[in-house]
Symmetry: D2
Subunit: 337 residues, 4 copies
Amino acid sequence: MVQVTDGQKKLTKPTSPADITDNMDLDEFAAALSGCAFGAGRISQAADIFTEMIADKNIVKFFGLAGAMVPAGMRKIIADLIRDGHINVLVTTGANMVHDALEGLYMPHYKGDAQSNDVALHEEGIDRIYDVFLPDKHFEEFEGFMQETIAKLPERPIKISEFMAHLGKHIENSDSILRAAYDMGVPIYCPAFPDSVIGLQAWLYKETNPLVIDAIGDMHDFMDICWNAEKAGAFFVGGGVPKNFIFQSMLVTPRDFDYAIQLTMDTPQTGGLSGATLEEAISWGKVGHKSKLVTVYSDATITMPLIVGAARARLRKQNQNKNQNRNQNQNKSQKTK
Amino acid sequence: MVQVTDGQKKLTKPTSPADITDNMDLDEFAAALSGCAFGAGRISQAADIFTEMIADKNIVKFFGLAGAMVPAGMRKIIADLIRDGHINVLVTTGANMVHDALEGLYMPHYKGDAQSNDVALHEEGIDRIYDVFLPDKHFEEFEGFMQETIAKLPERPIKISEFMAHLGKHIENSDSILRAAYDMGVPIYCPAFPDSVIGLQAWLYKETNPLVIDAIGDMHDFMDICWNAEKAGAFFVGGGVPKNFIFQSMLVTPRDFDYAIQLTMDTPQTGGLSGATLEEAISWGKVGHKSKLVTVYSDATITMPLIVGAARARLRKQNQNKNQNRNQNQNKSQKTK
Amino acid sequence: MVQVTDGQKKLTKPTSPADITDNMDLDEFAAALSGCAFGAGRISQAADIFTEMIADKNIVKFFGLAGAMVPAGMRKIIADLIRDGHINVLVTTGANMVHDALEGLYMPHYKGDAQSNDVALHEEGIDRIYDVFLPDKHFEEFEGFMQETIAKLPERPIKISEFMAHLGKHIENSDSILRAAYDMGVPIYCPAFPDSVIGLQAWLYKETNPLVIDAIGDMHDFMDICWNAEKAGAFFVGGGVPKNFIFQSMLVTPRDFDYAIQLTMDTPQTGGLSGATLEEAISWGKVGHKSKLVTVYSDATITMPLIVGAARARLRKQNQNKNQNRNQNQNKSQKTK
Amino acid sequence: MVQVTDGQKKLTKPTSPADITDNMDLDEFAAALSGCAFGAGRISQAADIFTEMIADKNIVKFFGLAGAMVPAGMRKIIADLIRDGHINVLVTTGANMVHDALEGLYMPHYKGDAQSNDVALHEEGIDRIYDVFLPDKHFEEFEGFMQETIAKLPERPIKISEFMAHLGKHIENSDSILRAAYDMGVPIYCPAFPDSVIGLQAWLYKETNPLVIDAIGDMHDFMDICWNAEKAGAFFVGGGVPKNFIFQSMLVTPRDFDYAIQLTMDTPQTGGLSGATLEEAISWGKVGHKSKLVTVYSDATITMPLIVGAARARLRKQNQNKNQNRNQNQNKSQKTK
């Protein structure tokens, strides 16, 4: 009898080079990378995991959105995921919501240049976010909207997620994250509320009016969602506060995340949470040792659209197959009748 | 007459190779890098700027502390800067304050291994932060301390900085950042309060007791400090919420930061604020075009101690020189009498 | 008359959020990112530039391939580009050619695990390349092939590109980069020849046989290609020796690269060439100030397949349109006859 | 009897916060970080390992120098290590030797600006290396030197290390790496010889004169050094060709490196060798499982001077102690006589 050594057991799945053709869709593209390694293999895994997540209605889907994703042009992707039920809880930064509100109020960002002269830009009233420009006067207009909108809040301690829903209600644009979340009843948590122009506007209002934002007021609801989730999945774009807040909440429940996808350019080696591996999260009990986990170390403005597109294409095909099978079965059963 | 072209004007300062000897102090080390380029040149600049900042009592010194700096072993450096008057306002993350409190309550972190088996660690009740281990039961003990301490707060909306000072008051250890800040009257701002075990403990308390943490309650005081600063300097360790919060506050005042030092491993190319250049901040008016700015793209657990040590060594020498001059002048004036 | 300020001129192109649908091909995907910023915008630009490059037969196409791209599963993409005439000159590392030869000789890489115990792997005779495994005995078998193949070389100083063509001739597998280049007459330059198992095998042969590899023997031919190029484009996967060798060669000619695409995870801030901006290359005269340039700071195992796939899809559509127009014109001309 | 669990065994070394004072030398600084984690802990380890390496005359010391270290101002540090016997074999890039030769011929680099207008620089004849400027005409002058120097080589295949020694012989400046290596008989290996202005100058010469550079001619000598080393240590600044060449050579011997220090900003996650962990090298047998290894993920223009300075300071103190002991012993023995 031939004995199989441990080493041989580790050599069972040959890699296979990607075959990239001129007529693939995103599902086929992700599948073509499934035999690859490094980032390519991880993209393929992420598409698999995300498809599994969005195909299952019983999974509560948390989405952590850090980084300057809205100025980068990612807000419609998020809004669409919310509208299609693929995000049930959103945790994000104030800045992303500020820029979402600006665009939702038809104050656009502009294509700029990362090599600009910032002194000149300052004189011209242009704020720069890497290669994005934003006229400073947008913020003046935004102040009007915000002061008016805050004034409509009830006079009692306001939960942060309540504040965000209130903003969403006053934005008409359907591609807005705030509006989509308001329409779908998806709560938006923003634990670093004071840290953004939204926070500044709240402070400004409070200078002359009574206003209390209850920093921990919505944590009870958040914990309830965690406790009651039959299954749970998390999609992290960047790390920061959203990643930690989602993970720490699950920590106080008796369960953990069954699925987690992390897109980041931070590396584990500096020790910060943003770049920490999802394996590290196992030690804390944030995810289980049987959870499906993948981290893609690459620019999320590229990988998020790619993973979302691949998973959407697959879901469509799965649904088509189901419908065809159903139709065939119906036809069969009609024939046998 | 020989004409000097624009090009020649750009070629006036030859680089000079670093000369590293076996008996340098940190001041001499930083000076030895002053003729170098890339990170070496920037460390030298940062030491110059920080020395200038701490030597001038009229500069209000803001310190933004992100990343897992306390688990990395950086808390005494921060506490000492506070005690010596070199930090006047601290903005940080909840996590850093949690870990500072743990160590301040004599629950240490342990040297671990970044290549650990996280499933085994989880079974052994050990939480991992890259190459640092922390027994999970520390958090149980911490819960006792927190619930007791929160119960001593007055029954009215509590400002976040007030909460932090209250914690500091109940920690005895003099190397604790929270304690040092309490002792010195240095406010600690923590805009992402809910996002940390401190936030979780506050939530837990609130489940059975009345508690409101006013998210924007301390912004008025913060703005006052910004408005009243004659000169202002900022030292950013990592980016995240602390960087943005410090910068956005200065934005609403008619002034900007005269000095800024940023230590980060994030890069500008992904567009996030954590890696954004300080030049980008000029476009927003967060810093002025004449401000002294430097970003060091390198591990802050190495560069922060280095810059702090070099600046401290220089300050000591400057003060010695002043004292010598004063003594000589006194001697002279005595002789002439 | 309304005056347009400089600032207003900078605010003419609003960003537009990406719309990701469930039935896009790679061309549509790249186009959907064209209104985005950061990496997303750059991917879109890279797809535009690469399409322009491969559509134009008059452009001499240089390809610099660094990093462990072959173990990652990228060799068929490269081989296909060579076979389709989209790479005219390849500059790469010895390691990529070693791993290409291994796979070309049917000795596969295997899917592994980046978190492996390397001591155990060593005992089991498995070499690890991040999350790829390779049985060490492959190299024994490779030695047989190499010693036999080197023995067939003529007894005179051998140019490196000649050596690579000789290897390609002895590999049958059509997905091999070495074979594809041999078949198509595309020269492979490998300036760091000694630095790889190919170099080691040459050394081993030389221990008992006469062999001289002429390190600079093929530079004359390379320069000729540069001098004679009517237009030139460069695609850099990673930096390293391939990037510098391609750029330095163009430097000694009176012309520069009209197109350049760079995919890298290195950052400019550390000063090395691998992460240096393509703008920096303008100062040297490697690329012109009117050249079309883009750098994508993201994992090349993801971005290279994406850009190649998008450009291929576009080229197919362009060719279809041309054919349709030609057919319509022919139909018209036939009708009018 | 109390049972100690596996978990408890992992919690034996508490971290201890760094205490940074105003009068430390580099040895004390590195020691102050020994109780820290992340990069700080690794710097401390690297200082320990390098001290052990340079204190032991029986260790053959390999040094891999990649990146633009000479333009950054690091050449004197390297030259001094060579002169003091702390580097026995240098493997580097052509570019580093080009820039070393330029400075050795008194053609300096200049402090520049990373935010420059590269089109303007090009018109002014200035080449940019991140924040370093170099007048293009230096290269014209260098051409004269090189053509003259190459002409003095014997007419037979020239080994690369022979070429480098020949260059060193014709440079007078004692801070030059090439000169120091020539003076000390330390061989310089440059496996990517064609890839640099030195390679270009050799090509230019060869256009009109006979010249063969034997790419693999010096590998025999290199292997001999590896085979004959009783103990071996490697210090890698950056990855690239030098790291791989040093490691692959040890691979063909029956031994491995006992010590290895790696300073890099590349990360393991992209799969390239430059960022690969030293643990990965264990699987290949490049280093042993008992070897002393450390990787510092941080800017090497900061960490190399720091580690070198700390190790030098310690060595001086160790030698002082030895001398004191010897003197005391001599005194004792004299007294007893």
